[in-house]
Symmetry: none
Subunit: 202 residues, 4 copies
DNA sequence: GATGAATGAGTATTCATTCAT
DNA sequence: CATGAATGAATACTCATTCAT
């Protein structure tokens, strides 16, 4: 007698993956339970058997996505021992093309926009970004102690990094493919310069 | 008998305004022709009479929104003669709370996310951001000539300003109300520092 | 240009008639918009076009049924000039088999039972029975003035007549077909005896 | 190992009680196995395990209700030795407010209306009313022998009593609360007068 | 005795759209 | 210019029921 809950969890995950795929190709306004079920070769009511409501499913999806987003981000900050090198590498990763590719931008912004009408979704986003900022703050504090970055307000700097990163991610979609890479490099350099306080320390 | 086209244009605008309102409160997935018609106290077929298809209406809405977005932005860049002062003021305006309030964030990101599935919408966004960058580039070139900002690549700097601005706008929504103002100030200062090349000029 | 509202009214009536038929054969729990539409050879959404909600349709149906019920009842009280004869004839009609056949009993009791959960339905029933009692009261007052029936409290007597009539209607369904006629006669005689105060006048 | 059947019977009764409750608040059209299961904090399939079909459960419920109805009625006829007093008391009880409260009126009429489409339900009702009439007939025969009531046809009189009682029960719901008590008294007096043959005996 | 997975038909209602007026 | 009738496909969700465990 194995744990019966495991199977349900697996099914739920399977459903969310298919929901994600439908969402990516049809948007929130086109994603329906029927389409997900179709994609899975399963009866629509089965989906409701697991998430009793579409709203419940959406909220779960957001958490699922933000999990992916976050867990794609965090490891990059820790994997290198040398702090100096870590700063360079992490920044380079963050402002590269592929990293954000982990979550479809259409899906991501659809969910973000949903947060303005759905408090539970909003809360999920807030919590995720709070965690991100917290980790960044710790990191920057350690770097400041090591004299690698400016010892201004690390929390404020963390916020700036996030804003820059999201701004890069956003504006990237408006550029020609050829421009993206260089734009990323420029963003990275600017951020590092700010962190280092090289702009005069004012 | 006056020109009938004028009335039609007015009606169209009226419809778009109501569409925008419905969109803000219900999202793309909840916005329907019927709801717009209801809000206007008008028959749904009237709306189809003007925009023969929902897709047409959506595309028009995006243009309507981007127009507002753009025309809220541009004037701030021009209204002051003294270039030095202009830089400060424009930056302050851009990173203030109220300015982006002109377009509901939920609506804005819903439209942006739509762009990833709808080429016409994407094109509208791209054109708008191209115009923005162009104007910023001109501006920065003039300022560089006047020695106010760094004479690096003004186009690249323009891109960075846009990214920073959108990143600020995005992340703003994740902060506590009390934090926003100071965060905006910090973003502004950072951008100006970068523009001025105060981080070493490299 | 004829009145356009007439057509809608006609359609509504047509829908109610079909609803009634479905209700009679399937009960409240089996009556669905789809079945009505099917019966009419029409699209389900058309029904919602006229009654925007099922609840609305149910309420309308109750009124439609009570109208029939009432208008089958009232004429019988007035059509004869001679009061003495009128009493006899009306009583005979009321306690006969065919009269109540105008409204299917299954439907009638389903609606009545609905009244215990739906205030609007309850109100319709109450108003109908209030009108019935009012008319009966007038009638009995006139007869009392003519010395045909007891001059006790005519309103109370009217209530009793209604209760007797409904009790007959109810219990009729539990009898063998052969018994019904005689049972009706007995009810009629009893009621008349009571009205006449022949039971000792106390 | 005790008798397993006992537990099953208990569960069945528990289910019927919950079904009854759901029925009272949602009507036949709103009562579902899922809702009953929900109310019991139990899996829906458990209910089907006991009553293998919904129809079976409905039929059982009707019997359960009619049992309550009948067993609330019968004792009142027997508990007093003195026949004269028994008549008065029983009649008073029957036409009082509280007695019928044992079975929710909404539920009762819903079931009764169901009888017009479901032969098994109809049969249950008929059998119950046949038993009622039989008992009443016995009673009235005894009373007639004792000279307390008219010695006309006691079976016919029994039918009339039932009709009056159901009519009272039915019409009661259409009266203002304040009127009910007096209306009950009036019904009672009228019935007794008829039974006594005080209206001339004809 | 009881649960949970799964189904497939059915629910009311909404949708965008067409057409006649 | 505007309405109202009508459609047909789609919506999320509920239903009774079966089966395996």
């Amino acid at each position: 007698m194995a744990w019966p809950k495991e199977k349900a969890e697996k099914r739920k995950k399977e459903i969310l993956e298919n929901f994600y795929a439908v969402l990516a190709s049809e948007g929130l306004e086109g994603a329906s339970i029927a389409k997900i079920a179709d994609r899975m070769g399963v009866n629509p009511s089965l989906i409701i058997h697991y998430f009793s409501t579409k709203e419940e499913m959406v909220v779960s999806l957001v958490d699922y996505i933000l999990d992916r987003y976050e867990s794609a981000f965090l490891p990059r900050l820790r994997e290198i021992d040398d702090l100096e090198e870590r700063l360079e590498t992490a920044a380079k990763d963050i402002f590269s093309v592929d990293w954000a590719g982990l979550v479809d931008q259409g899906v991501f912004y659809a969910c973000y926009s949903l947060g303005f009408r759905n408090p539970r979704v909003r809360e999920s986003f807030r919590r995720m970004y709070d965690r991100l900022r917290e980790v960044l703050t710790e990191e920057l504090t350690a770097m400041a102690d090591a004299g690698i970055v400016s010892d201004g307000n690390p929390e404020k700097l963390a916020g700036l990094v996030i804003a820059m990163l999201e701004g890069y991610d956003f504006y990237r979609g408006m550029l020609d493919e050829g421009e993206v890479e260089e734009f990323g490099r420029f963003c990275k350099e600017s951020v590092i310069a700010i962190l280092r306080g090289q702009y005069g320390g004012r």
